[in-house]
Amino acid sequence: MEIAETLKEKGVDVAIPIFEETVEWAGAINSVLLDNPRLLGQSMLLRDKSLMKRRAQLGGIRVGIFEEAHERDDVIRFLKRVNQTLLKLDGDPNDPIHVKAFDKAGCLGHRVIRTPDEIDTIPDEEFPVLMESHLDGWEFAVEAWVHNGRICFLNISEYVTLGYSVFVPATPELEKYRPEITRQVEKLIKTFDIEFGFIHPEYFVTSDGEMYFGEVAYRPPGFKVFELLERTYGFNAYHALVLAFDPKTTDAEIDAFFPKEVVDATGHAGCFGVYPRRRVVSQLSVPPETEDHDYFDSHELTAPMAEKVTKRTAFGNHWGLLYFFGEDPYTLRDLLKRQEELDFYI
């Protein structure tokens, strides 16, 4: 409250969340600045994975089955129930379920559970968690800038391997779904009462072409997608964030700022999150194969601080990103896939 009032005195119009943890703050501050108490509630909605899914469901958006768990027994029950509905018999391997901490950013606290034993590995402090059924399919993310309830720019980020690599704009196969995706995102905007700002939803397309809503975040995506967008479209995505969030921006200003999706892209930009493949590493060594590739742009890897590699706890905590840029999306996709087999730390 004090922050909000101070900011108001200083003539601030709107607060823009940059990190997951600041979404609620921004919502609370905006409730005061824009005199709209509902904004706090909206930001809470966008932070709580369980509330978020429920709201999406209410809006008629397809989501998988999900439930909240407050203790380990809840997880066991859910795992059994899910596999029961899938008509599994005793002895069949279980279909996995996903367990995510309620309000952690990105992939932190995210784990895949197949057997009841694995449930014991969840630390107490991660409860309560959201449990979801696992969906086989093609996962992708969408970045959408919204102003006055209208989508001003919609980007589809294609994951090559979830948690490892992503590139923009997507391949023509995925771009084929653009009209359908746009409809889904519009539905989301309506369901979540989003007037202005930026959303970053994730979807699944299952093998039969059906789109499922995964989750949505009201803040810039991880994995430096903003940098990739700047690389390929030439506009500063943070700048865009400011424009879209500012209720005083005119439609004309918006239209002048954003390029046309896909056609205005100068190429495809992708990045790969490096994670050491060895248990013990002593130095950084970018493979010549990567470095000499025409598409290679730069990397932000640093020499290892410790020799022992800690176990990977979430998809987010890679050691650094490699950036690529090139004309052909398929070459880029294969290139990104290939990086998974290379050692960057030896």
Binding site: E230, R231, S285, P288, E291, D294, F296, D297, S298, H299, E300, Y323, F325
Partner: protein, 673 residues
């Protein structure tokens, strides 16, 4: 299509990436540049790795600089860059450092060629800088990367080489060698004891000369002198025949031929300060030929010759044991020791006899062998080191800065109290222990904890190698015994550590607790009154005095505290009052910024001395010792002169240390006296 069109397109692509990255760096605001910088550096690195990359980067250098590539680094101010530091950056394991240095050099090349106007540096200065960079990195041009370099730098080792090759084709070898030769002469004029790096540089010039592709131009002559001083000094070894062949030649020479050889070596040695290995062969041979030729071979004056004749048995034994092909450099030390006449001090000759018969402890033996190799034996190495130190007290240099106190002590003893030095060498080499007394209590180097220097150093002369670790521990222990006392511990340490002649009076102008300057005016007046002959009754410095200097870099920014010795205060040939001092660094010629450039020759310096005009020296001083019974006339010091000193302080290390109230306040008070 031409066969290399593939390479050209790769270059084009990478250059396009570079341009894109540079544009986004340029568009970023100052606080955002750090985020955009890695991409630019990466793109630069990839362009530099390709053939033609240097030219492409050179053409973009101005744009890159304008985009803010150098922002916040020393490279942003090219006029303060020091060529010798490029050795470190071009061999750095950090690829970004190599890239920045490379881009900076390519930018300077554009300036030097007149393609680019730079507000801070002229074409001439740029050209000068580059040729010096090339000169000090000459080895990168002639040698493939060593295994160590490859491991450390990976492919960047090739980038540094490609850069230098590109620079040298643009600038030409002629200018480079000229600079290198100048640099070698500049170092040699300081007469260092350790000349290995100089020898390496000369060897590289010799290699360059043997290469028919290299046009040496006018620099050939100066280079010749250096090369011949090592490899072909006299008629008998003109074509560098190898020591064995030379020995057989010497054996067949008659007296007049030997005389000719002897004077040839002597002239060269006194001229350059370098000793040829052939010289050692001749000197050993002359042991059987009588004192006259020995004296000739060392180029002795009447004083030196007198010493030789008085102590001929001792000198012969010294040559017998210390002078070998590997240790030839000690001939110069031996010669200067004879010239100094210190053998006439009663304890010195017996102490040298003791040194000749000294049995080294296993530890000392091992350390010497480890650093200098097995041939000749460890004792010969130590003895040759002792001779060098006694002959060239100001030639001692430390490999690393933390031990400046110990290096200074060794130099001071060799200069002022050779007997004591010989004693400490024996203690260290034979007993592995030195005991010094501090305020009546003995301090043993063996029982003391670690010293100031954390790692054992190796790039030292034999005497320092054995003695410095002990001194360093004792010095640190004295410091520990002063913990809790008010003010700076050097007040008590210096006189006890260095010797009775260090003045017991002590002044410091830095408040130890806060680092702020205090008593600026009083301090300076007192220094003038103690040391400046116009204000101290025309009293020259009698004993070398320890002093503390605030070292600044070429941009006049504070670097650290440093121990030096004040040796003399005299009028120089231009009738300017100068302070002549010893700096335990390996190279005394330093640019301390704001026009303060330490001279090593040309201002009346003796070999090994550094010098500054009195007021410039005073401006970097923060600790000095004085004799409390000789007050001088501090009130007589000229106001304008003091103001100039304060100006130097304010523009350099004193900038953020001056007390809240300006000096002008004190001025009013003192003017009232």
């Amino acid at each position: 299509m031409s066969p290399d069109s593939g390479a050209a397109t790769t270059l084009d692509r990478r250059v396009a990436t570079l341009d894109h990255a540079a544009r986004s760096l340029s568009a970023a605001s100052d606080f955002g540049k750090q985020v955009k910088l890695p991409r630019v550096l990466e793109a630069l690195r990839r362009v530099l790795q390709l053939p033609g990359g240097c030219a492409a980067v050179g053409a973009r250098a101005a744009g890159l600089e304008a985009a803010g590539l150098f922002l916040g680094t020393d490279w942003a101010r090219p006029h303060i860059l020091i060529p010798s530091l490029s050795t470190g950056s071009l061999r750095s394991a950090n690829a970004d450092t190599v890239v920045l240095e490379a881009v900076s050099d390519l930018r300077l090349l554009a300036v030097a060629k007149g393609d680019l106007e730079h507000p801070m540096i002229s074409a001439e200065q740029a050209n000068d800088h580059l040729s010096q960079v090339l000169a000090v990195n000459l080895s990168l041009l002639f040698t493939a990367p060593t295994e160590a370099e490859r491991v450390q730098q990976g492919r960047m080792a090739e980038v540094s080489r490609a850069l230098l090759n590109y620079l040298v084709t643009e600038i030409g070898y002629e200018k480079v060698l000229e600079n290198l030769v100048d640099e070698i002469w500049r170092i040699l004029r300081q007469r260092p004891i350790q000349v290995d790096s100089v020898k390496r540089m000369i060897t590289q010039i010799a290699v360059a000369r043997a290469n028919p592709d290299v046009d040496l131009g006018a620099s050939g002559l100066g280079a010749d002198r250096l090369i011949s001083s090592l490899y072909g000094t006299t008629e008998g070894c003109r074509e560098d025949p190898g020591v064995e062949i030379y020995r057989t030649r010497v054996e067949s020479m008659d007296d007049s031929a030997l005389q000719y050889e002897a004077t040839g070596f002597a002239r060269s040695m006194h001229d350059t300060g370098l000793v040829s290995p052939y010289h050692a062969v001749l000197l050993r041979f002359l042991l059987g030929k009588g004192e006259y030729l020995l004296g000739e071979a060392m180029g002795l004056s009447s004083t030196g010759r007198d010493s030789l004749l008085c102590y001929h048995e001792l000198v012969r034994s010294l040559i017998e044991q210390a002078v070998h092909v590997e240790t030839a450099q000690c001939i110069y030390g031996l010669t200067l020791m004879l010239e100094r006449g210190i053998l006439y001090q009663p304890p010195v000759a017996p102490a040298l006899w003791r040194q000749l018969a000294l049995r080294l402890s296993p530890h000392s033996q091992q350390r010497l062998t480890q650093v200098f190799g097995p041939a000749p034996n460890a004792r010969a190495w130590l003895l040759s080191g002792v001779l060098s130190v006694l002959g060239l007290p100001l030639g001692i240099g430390q490999g690393d800065n933390p031990t400046c106190q110990s290096a200074r002590a060794l130099s001071m003893w060799a200069y002022n109290d050779p007997d004591y030095l010989l004693q400490t060498v024996v203690w260290a080499a034979r007993d592995d222990e030195i005991v010094m007394h501090f305020e009546g209590r003995p301090i043993s180097s063996r029982e003391s904890d670690a010293g100031v220097s954390t790692a054992l150093q190796h790039d030292l002369d034999p005497v320092s190698l054995l003695v410095v670790p002990h001194l360093d521990r004792i010095y640190a222990e004295m410091g520990r015994q002063c913990v809790g006392r008010d003010g700076d511990p050097h007040r008590w340490i210096n006189p006890e550590f260095h010797g009775w002649w260090s003045g017991r009076g002590f002044r410091i102008n830095v408040d130890v607790a806060t680092g702020q300057l205090t008593d600026l005016e009083d301090f300076q007046r007192h220094f003038y009154a103690s040391y400046h002959p116009f204000y101290n009754g025309n009293q020259p410095v009698i004993h070398p005095q320890p002093a503390g200097i605030a070292i600044t870099d070429s941009a006049a920014r504070f670097v650290g505290w440093h121990a030096i010795t004040v040796l003399r205060v005299n009028l120089d040939p231009e009738s300017k009052m100068r302070v002549y001092f010893y700096n335990p660094n390996n190279d005394s010629g330093q640019d301390w910024g704001d026009g303060v450039v330490v001279g090593t020759a040309g201002h009346g310096e003796r070999f090994g001395e550094a010098s500054l005009p009195f007021e410039q020296f005073a401006s970097r001083l923060y600790i000095f010792h004085f004799d409390p019974l000789e007050p001088g006339e501090s009130a007589a010091v000229d106001r304008t002169e003091l103001d100039r000193v304060f100006g130097y302080i304010r523009r350099s290390w004193g900038a953020d240390r001056l007390p809240a109230e300006p000096v002008a306040d004190e001025q009013v008070q003192t003017d009232g006296h």
